[in-house]
Amino acid sequence: MTKIKSLADLKKMKQELQSQVSLREKSDTPEGRVMVRVGMGTSGIASGAKQIMEFLIDEMDKRNVDAIVSQTGDMGYSYAEPTVEVTLPGQEPIVFGDVDQKKADDIIEKYIKNGELLDGIIPANYETIDKNKS
């Protein structure tokens, strides 16, 4: 891969990046995309949430999954960190707990690609992180 160091390089790389991205079947509305949020509170970070998020970003890119990966504050599930919330288009969000690299891989391959449910879902009257917080 070419090294990029300056914003000028980034501009040059932009076209290449854009063509990669447009190869995917991409929906224009954010609602049509898979939303993945990694719990990045203190307990999440201490349990390895950063590595899980980097893994998800890398793999979504490599496997051409049209997803937005972002981080969010503490979900309040410190006993089950790292936690990952996945919202498939048109579905209720689901939170996976105790996510390691293997489980993150399963989340992409089984849940996101095929809609198969996995172990380790945090049940409950869970709405979304924002509603759950104060």
Binding site: M1, E54, A67, T72
Partner: protein, 180 residues
């Protein structure tokens, strides 16, 4: 926390939660003064003086999901254990400044860690926030400013996984340059 970059990720997350629009992260490794300084400044909602006083107390948190808040307490403890300290300045409606310093050569000082990865996560995961990250090693400096990055991207999303990976590489290359 294994390293300082994870503390920065954690503390900057507070700024995000405080609805900041602009966040500054300024790291200065000064071997002359044997000091590693870290400043995190935001224009979020800020805190009242009585909260500022208690914010590094591990049994105080503004959160309602549980009753402890370890982030700032852990960072402060880590700094103090290596001859440094952490201070909090904040004003409601204006924002918050967290200043931390470590003795650079102290044996127990945690390593700085993976700042490129941390910046990628912060920047890519918070599209509505502008980040200004300055990293100085003695008299050399590198500045990463999302305003400039977004201009260079010209409409392409900064949250696109492939863009995020590129930005991480870009920051890493530039930080390495500071140590040459």
């Amino acid at each position: 926390m294994k390293d300082i970059s994870l503390h920065i990720l954690d503390i900057a997350q507070n700024s995000v939660s405080a609805q900041a629009k602009n966040i500054v992260i300024d790291i200065h490794e000064d071997s002359g003064k044997d000091k590693l300084s870290i400043l995190i400044q935001d224009d979020g909602r800020g805190m009242a003086p009585e909260i500022v006083q208690r914010v590094t107390d591990p049994f105080y948190t503004t959160r309602t999901t549980r009753k402890v808040g370890m982030g700032l307490s852990l960072f402060k403890q880590n700094a103090q254990q290596t001859g440094g300290d952490l201070t909090v300045e904040s004003e409601p409606g204006k924002g918050t400044i967290i200043k931390t310093h470590f003795v650079l050569s102290h044996l127990d000082r945690p390593p700085l860690g993976d700042m490129p990865g941390v910046m990628m996560i912060l920047v890519g995961g918070t599209t509505g926030i502008e980040w200004y990250y300055k990293h100085r090693v003695d008299d050399k400096e590198y500045v990463f400013d999302t305003r400039e990055v977004k201009e260079a991207l010209d409409g392409m999303e900064i949250s696109e996984p492939s863009v995020m990976k590129y930005l991480k590489d870009m920051i890493r290359e530039n930080l390495q340059e500071l140590r040459v």
